[in-house]
Symmetry: C2
């Protein structure tokens, strides 16, 4: 019985391989890609980069002076390595500052809470303390049902559940509703402030910050605060005792006019097709609570290190490899939007794009969204990186990473190397996003996969993009 | 070969059992102890107690109004359960308040650190900010070697290593030197403040607070601050870059005169020997960063629940069982010292004492320090709780728990049920000491072991104490 199943499985796998894998890699390119994998696994370059960024620059709030220093760091890094061209591409953005926050329970007794203003939060009146009775909502749906003006003089607390940790990060979207839109209903109902359970899977006293959603371009006029999961548990239990619950909040968060941010663009110029661009990258900005190690110092380090290994080869790749350190990702993909806008005329030259922005866990899956005719070529890349423990996933998966969205919407084909995100939402947007959370071996595995993928994509004679006439015919 | 070894091992074990286990438990008492174990494993009483204490009282700083509320809570709890006598025994103590703390790196760039004043810390001058260059010391030994007056106008940072997590908590003592005595050398050398790496085994942005050691009864005149392990790692890396490092500290910690604290004493009065006391307990106070769940709400819950299960039996035990909720443990065992002093005349009536104050992990070992003639009786108790996964450890191990030290020094025999402390120093004295860190099943296992041990100790016809004439002859 066992041998029959094994034989059947072998036949199925073989059939799959034959059906999909009609693309033959150039043997010399395949050998170089394998050599890059081996070299990357031995290299500590990515570790050095993320160590330098988190130590020497530290937290890098979008639009802040720290982000200016980060760009200077990125420019100097590119110049010190083997890149052919290093450019800072500035853009203008509004600056939001977290300010100061004091938040405590004041009834039934005084206890400080571990909270953080959410991006886009307003201040308390005259930046002084506001103390109010708390109205408890079991989840965001309960809050959205409240009548206009029904919460005057109250502080809203929106509970919910801690996220379940998953490999893919599934569950972040729905959980995030309380963070994103809760304030809109609290403000509509006249509340003094809104406090939500952090969107995170950990049980440490860490608030998880992150952006709220604007409403028709308007941001919150009241404090919008996330508290840690243990603090939210505590409030839930206090609520169930029936004791009257009050809080005091003093927040000075708010907007401070326009500032300059920018993307740092590092190019390895292609030898045959310099105008055709394989774009990779991560985002250079970070929230300020941690030092932006996993979000997204790791992505910067992985993609720069992968490109650098390719740049050290005796020959330049056929196509240009571009590493973009995007600015101001956390506050709404501002760098990515600016890039797509500033490069609108050459967007058609971007042959493939992907970003590393899901932490520093091992890559376990390769997914793609390219022209159907190019799938066998992606499968062939998959076979090169399969020994790294990477499975070939869907060939019709939109994405490529947050900062790739504007390019993908403009028709740029994408791939993505999915990382194990089991601990990502333990750390995401918290003070715990620090260098010690990165496993150097997992980081090197990431570099290996990116190096092979990007090297092959920049050299193989494949069109990843659906030809314009076919794309038009499909619409 | 294997069978020979197995036979030999069996013989050795059997020989050990025969040699040690010459004490025969009363069969009815053994059966009751086993029934208590079974009942405790099904009971959620301890969980309810620690949930109530951490939720309804919250953090309980020694000498604070919160500790007053905790005593009222303890008194009401004792009265609501089956205890025969509930007494609050007040004592006077000096009150130290953590105050406010702001600590940040100011050079090479600004970054807030996660720190906490250590118990006994002083304030910064006029409670305003002090900003100074940082002098880095790799460990406490490097600091103790500095010359008097050689650190004028500097802030001292004492690095060291994160603790290695162990089952027994080994390593806490040596690591703790930087916390306890670092300030004495910093002050002697004229420093403005001292910052130390937290004494803890975790890698979260949590400072670990705790008491410094006084010097001839004097406390620090400068801020004495602990920062989290990731923050200390960060400073170490910054130091290695060679960049000049500066910090700003504003601390308002200090002493505020005498206040009243107290112990809460809950008695189950013995039926035959009411003056003979088997004493168990935990400490009611906690540091204020967390809610004192594992340190030591768990100990209060375990010992109260164990005693309550015994009090619900149809008959009172022969001896009195006393649960003491000690006050002001964290600032120097003040409740324990007061208890020993206030009960000095009846200390000879304390037949056996033990405390639960090492978290809420499963108990894995029973150790003792009783008269040699009583060891077989302790071994017999060990056999009753062995099915809970508890090994019989040393029979000559001083201890019994921090609050038992003054009694043990006055000659009271002790036992201890050692808990698995693998995560204890991840959480110890941090904001993360919250209810969610307690595993209800492990908590119930603790109650089961205490219930059986205490029931048997209060009923068995055994003298745990070395008779006075023998003790005198030994000296």
């Amino acid at each position: 019985m066992k041998s029959i199943i094994a034989t059947a499985a072998a036949l199925i796998l073989a059939g799959h391989a034959f059906a999909q894998d009609s693309f033959e890699l150039d043997p010399a390119q395949a050998a170089t890609a394998e050599a890059l994998v081996a070299e990357a696994l031995e290299s500590d370059l990515a570790w050095s980069i993320v160590e330098s960024l988190t130590t020497e620059v530290g937290p890098r709030m979008p639009g802040s002076e720290a982000e200016v220093r980060a760009r200077a760091w990125g420019e100097a890094l590119g110049q010190s390595l083997s890149f052919d061209r290093v450019t800072i591409e500035p853009f203008t953005m509004p600056f939001w500052d977290r300010g100061e926050l004091e938040i405590s329970i004041t009834s039934p007794y005084t206890q400080a809470l571990h909270g953080s203003a959410l991006g886009g939060s307003g201040a308390s009146p005259r930046s002084g303390p506001v103390e109010s009775d708390v109205v408890y909502f079991r989840d965001i749906n309960a809050l959205t049902a409240v009548a206009d003006g029904s919460l005057e003089g109250k502080i809203v607390f929106v509970d919910g559940d801690a996220m379940v940790a998953t490999q893919t990060g599934a569950g972040y979207g729905p959980a995030n509703n309380r963070r994103r839109i809760g304030w809109q209903h609290a403000e509509r109902a006249g509340a003094d402030a809104i406090v939500v359970r952090s969107v995170g899977s950990d049980f440490h006293r860490n608030p998880h910050t992150g952006m709220i959603s604007s409403m028709d371009g308007e941001w919150a006029n009241i404090p919008v605060i996330a508290i840690s999961n243990p603090d939210a548990d505590h409030l839930r239990r206090l609520h169930h005792t029936g004791a009257p619950l009050a809080m005091q909040i003093r927040a000075t968060a708010g907007w401070h006019g326009d500032v300059t941010s920018g993307n740092v663009v590092l190019d390895i110029v292609g030898s045959e097709l310099p105008d055709e661009i394989v774009l990779i990258g991560g985002h250079l900005d970070s929230w300020d609570l941690g030092t932006g190690a996993i979000d997204d110092g790791a992505g910067i380090a992985i993609t720069v290190a992968a490109a650098e290994l390719i740049a050290r080869l005796p020959e330049r790749p056929r196509r240009t490899i571009r590493v973009v350190m995007f600015g101001a990702e956390e506050v709404g993909l501002l760098g990515a939007r600016a890039y797509a806008q500033q490069h609108a005329e050459e967007v058609g030259n971007h042959v493939l794009a992907t970003e590393s922005d899901f932490g520093a866990g091992r890559i376990w899956q390769l997914v793609s969204n390219v022209d159907a005719a190019a799938n066998p070529a992606i499968d062939a890349v998959g076979q090169i990186i399969a020994p790294l423990g990477i499975l070939r996933g869907g060939s019709n998966v939109p994405g490529g990473g947050p900062d790739i969205i504007p390019l993908a919407m403009a028709g740029v084909p994408t791939v993505r190397l999915n990382q194990d995100g089991m601990d990502y939402f333990d750390l995401h947007h918290t003070p715990d996003d620090t260098l010690d959370k990165i496993d150097p071996e997992a980081l090197a595995q990431n570099v290996a996969a990116y190096a092979a993928l990007v090297y092959l994509a920049a050299n193989m004679d494949v069109e990843f993009r659906t030809p314009a006439e076919e794309a038009a015919a499909e619409e």
